[in-house]
Every structure is written in C-alpha cells, then in structure tokens.
C-alpha cells in the first residue's frame, strides 16, 4: 500500500516536469495532497482522533483543497494558461530524471537505520523537482508551484525520518505556509495588473 502510494507520488513529480498547463499543475498538487493523506494514514500505528483530525486538515483540507482553490482563483484572475515555451519542458524532464538519479545516490549514502529509505529518497526527489521548476520555468506561477512541491517534499521528509512535532508547532507551520501562499498569490495578481506580465524576465529592473 505505502509503496504503491510512493510510486504514484514519483509519477506525479515526473508528470509535473512535463505538464505545460497550469490547471494540470494545480490538479497534480491536489493529487499529491491526497497521496500524502494516504501515506500519513497508512503510517499511523494506532488510531488517535486528534492526530487523525490534524492529518485530515493538513493534507486533505489544506494541501488537496484550499491551496488548489487559491491557485485556480489566481489562474482565473490572471488568465494565465500554460508555460510559454516547449523547450523548457524537455529540459526540465531531463533535469527531473537527473534529479531522480541524484536523489537515489544521495539517499544511498545518507540513510541510516532510523529513516525510511524509500520515502527519504522520494522526498529528496520532490525537493529537487521543486527547485528545478523554479529554475527552469519562466513564468512566476510555475515558481509558486515549485515552492508548493518543495513544501510537499518537506512533509514527506518529516514522515521519512519519523519526526513528530508537537501539534501547536505543526499548526503554526501550516498557517505560516498558508499565509505565504495567500501573500504570493496576491502579489502575483498585482504583478499581472501592474506589469501586465508574469514572466520572471520582467523581474530584472532592480540591478546595480
């Protein structure tokens, strides 16, 4: 069960590197939220109502519903549709495969007995995939998606190393990320209104 969910998660990351429509990106993020929910539930040793409630809020409500809704709202308001050039798709696919190999290699050297080696590797792959999206794509919306992929990777990472932070801290972290997404979404819309673009190349006017 866990292995199939992890394989599905890897497939979403590979697909994300090839997808060119932003709605697809948003759907993939929602799917990742669902997969993380499945993984978190599958890893629970015994039933705790509070813990269960928090997992539902953090993965299902927050990652699979609220964030995709915010992103869809931004897509509608800014009328952005897809990434601009197809060449960056091939490049990011190649980079994604390289990242997968690199993740496996790093995991091989880094893991110890206390960590779940497969989740660790996939979490690392997710982090690198997010960074690749940020570096390779030109539109800032894709950067926002990259940031969310990194956040999902961090969540998977915390499961891989078996860290359970206190509930209050988890809640604070979740709210922090939510506010960051809202602020970023707001500024993205502002950028579209004021600068009539959401290309990262337009963000080069500040220089020495």
């Amino acid at each position: 069960m866990i292995l199939s969910l992890i394989i599905l998660y890897v497939l979403t990351l590979i697909y994300l590197s090839m997808a060119d429509r932003f709605r697809t990106h948003t759907m993939i993020l929602a799917l990742q939220g669902l997969l993380l929910f499945g993984l978190a539930i599958a890893r629970m040793h015994e039933f705790h109502p509070v813990e269960m409630g928090f997992i539902i809020v953090e993965t299902l409500v927050f990652k699979a519903i609220i964030i995709p809704i915010i992103l869809i709202h931004v897509i509608r308001k800014t009328k952005i549709n897809r990434i601009t050039s197809s060449s960056s798709q091939f490049g990011s696919l190649v980079m994604s495969v390289v990242a997968l190999v690199a993740s496996c290699t790093i995991t091989y050297y880094m893991h110890d007995d206390s960590t779940d080696i497969i989740s660790f590797g996939v979490a690392l792959y997710a982090l690198l995939s997010g960074l690749i999206l940020i570096v390779m794509r030109k539109r800032v919306f894709a950067h926002l998606v990259g940031f969310l992929v990194i956040e999902n990777g961090v969540f998977l990472f915390s499961m891989a190393i078996g860290v359970e932070l206190p509930m209050l801290i988890n809640l604070a972290i979740m709210l922090d990320i939510l506010i960051s997404i809202l602020v970023l979404g707001m500024f993205l819309r502002r950028m579209d209104n004021d600068m009539n673009t959401d290309e990262s190349e337009a963000l080069t006017s500040i220089k020495d």
């Binding site: 801290i169 922090d176 500024f187 600068m195």
Partner: protein, 523 residues
C-alpha cells in the same frame, strides 16, 4: 509574556481602526512605551532566564537584542512620520505602514525570545510576511519586484531551513525541540545529518542575516522599502537572523567534530559575504543598496568571528550591537537626504555639505565609524577578530580579509565624499532641509562612538553571558583536550591584554598547529 504580546498586537493593529494620522502617531508612541516597559519589567522583577509560555525564554541574548530593536524602533517611528508626510501618501497607507512596522517588531521580538527551534522558524517566516507589506508600501514597479523576490526567496529559503530543523530533530528526545534539550541530545546525533542540518539552516536563515548566499533579497528589500523601515529591517531583522544562527551555533558547540566543521562553514560563508559586499559596493549606484551591501560585508565579518571562536566570538556579538546603531543612523541620514534630492542616485546627487551641513557631517562621521576608524566600536571588534585569527594561525584569512576590506574602504569613502563635496550632475528639485531630524538621526551614531570609547559593564556582562553558552569543544582524546586547556590558560593573560572585557570568553576550541606542538611539549 502573554500580556505583553496581546497588548503589543492590539496596539499594532489599532491604527487600522482610527481615523487620523495623529492618533496613529500616539498609538505608535504607546507601542514603543510598551516595549520599553516590557524590557524594564524583566529586569526589575529579575525574570532573566525564565521560561515564558513554554516556548519563550528571556535570556540575555533576547533581552539585549530586544533593547536594541526598541531603540531603533523609536527612531524609526519618529523618522517614518516625517518621511511619509513628505511622500504625501494617503492616511490609509500611513496607517497600514505603521501597523505593518509594529507587527514586524512583534514578530521580531518573538524570534528573539523563542526558546524552541521550530517556533523560531515560525516567527522568522512571520517576519517575511510583515516585511512584505512594508517593502511594497511605495507601490512602484521595483517595489513589487523586490517584494515578490523577498517573499518567494525567503519562503523557499526558510523551507530549506525547516528541512534542516527536521533533520536536527531526529536527535530530539520525545520531540522536545527547546534549545536546552537539543543541546544535550545533539551529542548522540548522526554527524552527517547534523552537518547537512546546519548547512540547510544557515543557508535558509542567510536571507534574514543578509549573508551569502541569499543576501540579495535583503538588499532589494532595503532598496524598495521607505528609508526608516530599511533602517529597521537592516538592523532589527538582520539581528533576528544573526540571533537564530547564534542559537544554532551554541547548540552545535556540544557536537564535537561537527562543530569544527560548522565553524569552517561559517568562515567560508563570511569570506564569501565579505567578497560579495566588497565587489558590489564598487558597483552600487544607489545609497540604500550601497548601505545594504555594507550590511552584507559587516555580517560577513560577524560570520568569520563566529567561525574563529574564542575572543572573536565576543567581538562578533559586540560588532552586531554596534553595527545596529551605526547602520540605523546611516539609513536615517539617507532618508533625510531623499527629502532634499528626491533621489538616492550616487552619480546624480552631491554638494550635500552646502545644502545640509549637519546631515553631511553626520553622514561622513557615520562613514568613518562604519569603516572602523578609531574611536569606532567596529575598530574594537575588528581588531579583536584579527587578533584571534593571528592567535589561531590563520594568516591566509587575515590577508584575505585585509585585502577585501581595503576595497570596501575605498568604495565607501569615495562615495561618501562624492555626496558631500561633488557638484550635482543634473538639475534637481531641492526642497527644504529638516535639520532637527538630522540631529536626531545622529544620536545612534553618538551612542556607537561612545561604545567605541567605553563599553558599559552591563553590556560587557551581557555579551559575556551570551558567549559562555558556548562551552569548550571536546577534543578527540582526553589527553589532547587537557593539554589544550592548560595551554589556553597559559595564553589567557595575553588575550585579556587585547580584550579587557572578555573574562568569560571560552578558550580556543580548535587545536592549531602551534597548540599541537605545545600540547606535545606539555605532555
């Protein structure tokens, strides 16, 4: 603490519901008063080192930096009023600016007092969100660009830092993430995990401390924000980044050989920051960016001080304290300068000595203090860092630092003179000068110069307490460790001669070649 937080937050959001700018100013004054009373109460009731709300602790480091933040905040609120009026902004924007500045102050205070590594992260992320509104306040194209970059890079960087915290928390017993518990547990940690965790946390927090590699967003933020807010961001917020890294540094002090690796990393980051600062100070054509790169350079020196350890550790903390006064004063002067010229352009503006003599003299004196000319307090701290570098035998580092600092000296001094004595390059619309503000802007500078001549006992005691949290590194073998301690004790009079107020400075942590020879002799 809860009462203090509730009152502060209520006062911070209160400007949003009042109608006039005058009422906003009164609320801001009350907010400042609450900060002063808060610090005074901690001292009066002797609550130093007590745990508050189970996630905060009022230790010396938090109190010192909270006091510094409050001092800068007072000046910042005062200058903001005249700055915003000169900008001619709407009452709504005026109120929003004050609200955000006060909320940022609350978030920074929480970072200072946080006793939990995860909560420090949470509050640092909160500072990003509060800063975003201030950076975007002027609502022009570049401010939008700077804000986007700031929020995005800080969020991504801090996500990386969170990854580091997760790796570090593998050593935590029963999920306890307070610094004291982690310090005990870190000894048992996987060295590779600890190294990666340190790297990720320092890289993540570098966007706040304005050091290599994520320093750029801080520079852009200072460029876009109103000058009094830039003064606050480049001192109080930078100090929050420093304090977060300092707490991690103290944690790692009990991590044996990982700590040695971490200190080497800090030296590398410090040298790179110093190099970047020196390089871009030559290129900058905007006084605010210019001062921001100077912050990068100074924080680079601080990182080197942390990396070297010993007396340099004391000097690093003292450097940050004094830098807060000097840099805030310089930013306030630059803000006044903008009133006059309506520009920050280095190549365009000049003749400031004839237009505003008080401001020009303040700026020149500030430049000299920034360049560590005696009696600058930065001279004291830099000499202490250099002496410690010589003591540990890292001559290459000393030479590299001196070369880079010569470039910095030339760049800063030539630009400072250009502002005061060169003629304006084109037609400028000069406005009336507010000399009263220039005098007020010079007050932190005077405080800095006084600190250069005389360091009050309470300050040196506080810094001593801060650095004694860092114990002596355990050497690989017991014999070597004993010998190093004996050797360091023999060296102590020489160290005290250079730095009279460093009685509590931990002894040299890392065995150098000379020490190894002495250790053998002693054996």
């Amino acid at each position: 603490m809860l009462t203090y937080l509730i009152i502060s937050v209520i006062l911070a959001v209160l400007p949003l519901v009042v109608r006039t700018e005058r009422l906003t100013n009164i609320i801001a004054a009350l907010f400042f008063l609450v900060q002063v009373v808060g610090i005074a109460l901690v001292f009066y009731f002797d609550r130093v080192d007590t745990v508050l709300l189970s996630i905060f602790r009022a230790d010396s480091m938090a109190l010192l930096f909270h006091a510094l933040m409050t001092a800068v905040l007072g000046f910042s609120l005062l200058h903001s009023s005249s700055y915003l009026k000169a900008e001619g902004i709407s009452t709504r924007s005026y109120k929003a600016y004050y609200t955000l500045l006060m909320l940022l102050a609350v978030a920074i205070t929480c970072v200072y007092y946080s006793d939990n590594i995860a909560m420090t992260w949470v509050f640092l992320e909160l500072t990003t969100i509060c800063s975003a509104g201030i950076i975007y306040h002027r609502e022009f194209k570049q401010s939008l660009e700077a804000t986007w970059k700031y929020v995005f890079v800080c969020s991504t960087g801090i996500a990386m830092a969170y990854l580091g915290i997760l790796l570090l928390s593998t050593v935590a017993t029963e999920g306890a993430l307070d610094y004291a518990s982690l310090k005990e547990a870190i000894v048992e940690g996987n060295p590779l995990y600890l190294k990666v965790a340190f790297l990720l946390m320092v890289v993540g927090y570098s966007c706040k401390m304005e050091i290599f590699p994520l320093y750029t967003v801080g520079v852009d933020a200072n460029y876009a924000a109103p000058a009094p807010a830039s003064a606050f961001i480049s001192t109080a917020l930078v100090n929050a980044g420093f304090l977060s890294i300092m707490r991690i540094y103290n944690l790692y002090a009990s991590a044996g050989e990982v700590f040695v690796w971490a200190r080497h990393l800090l030296i590398l980051i410090g040298v790179l920051s110093l190099a970047v600062g020196a390089m871009f100070l030559r290129r900058a054509n905007n006084y605010k960016r210019f001062l921001s790169y100077s912050t990068v350079e100074n924080m680079g020196i601080v990182a080197i001080g942390l990396g070297i350890g010993g007396v340099a550790l004391w000097a690093a903390v003292f450097h940050v304290v004094c830098h807060t006064f000097v840099k805030s004063s310089m930013f306030f002067h630059v803000g006044i300068m903008r009133h006059v010229y309506d520009s920050y352009s280095i190549n365009r503006i000049g003749n400031y000595m004839n237009i505003n003599r008080v401001g020009a003299i303040g700026f020149i004196v500030g430049t000299l203090v920034l360049l560590a000319f005696p009696p600058s307090p930065l001279f004291v701290s830099e000499i202490m860092i250099f002496s410690e570098i010589v003591t540990v035998g890292k001559w290459w580092l000393l030479i590299l630092m001196l070369v880079l600092m010569c470039v910095v000296l030339y760049s800063i001094w030539s630009r400072s003179l250009r502002l005061s004595y060169h003629s304006n390059q084109d037609e400028l619309h000069l406005t009336a000068v507010n000399r009263r503000l220039s005098y007020i802007a010079s007050i932190p500078l005077v405080v800095a110069v006084v600190l250069g001549l005389w360091q009050p006992k309470f300050l040196t005691d506080m810094i001593d307490t801060i650095i004694t949290d860092t114990p002596i590194v355990k050497a690989k073998t017991e014999v070597v460790e004993q010998n190093i301690v004996v050797f360091a004790e023999k060296q102590q009079p020489a160290v005290e001669h250079t730095a009279p107020n460093t009685s509590a400075v931990p002894v040299v942590e890392e065995p150098t070649e000379n020490e190894d020879v002495n250790a053998e002799n002693l054996e």
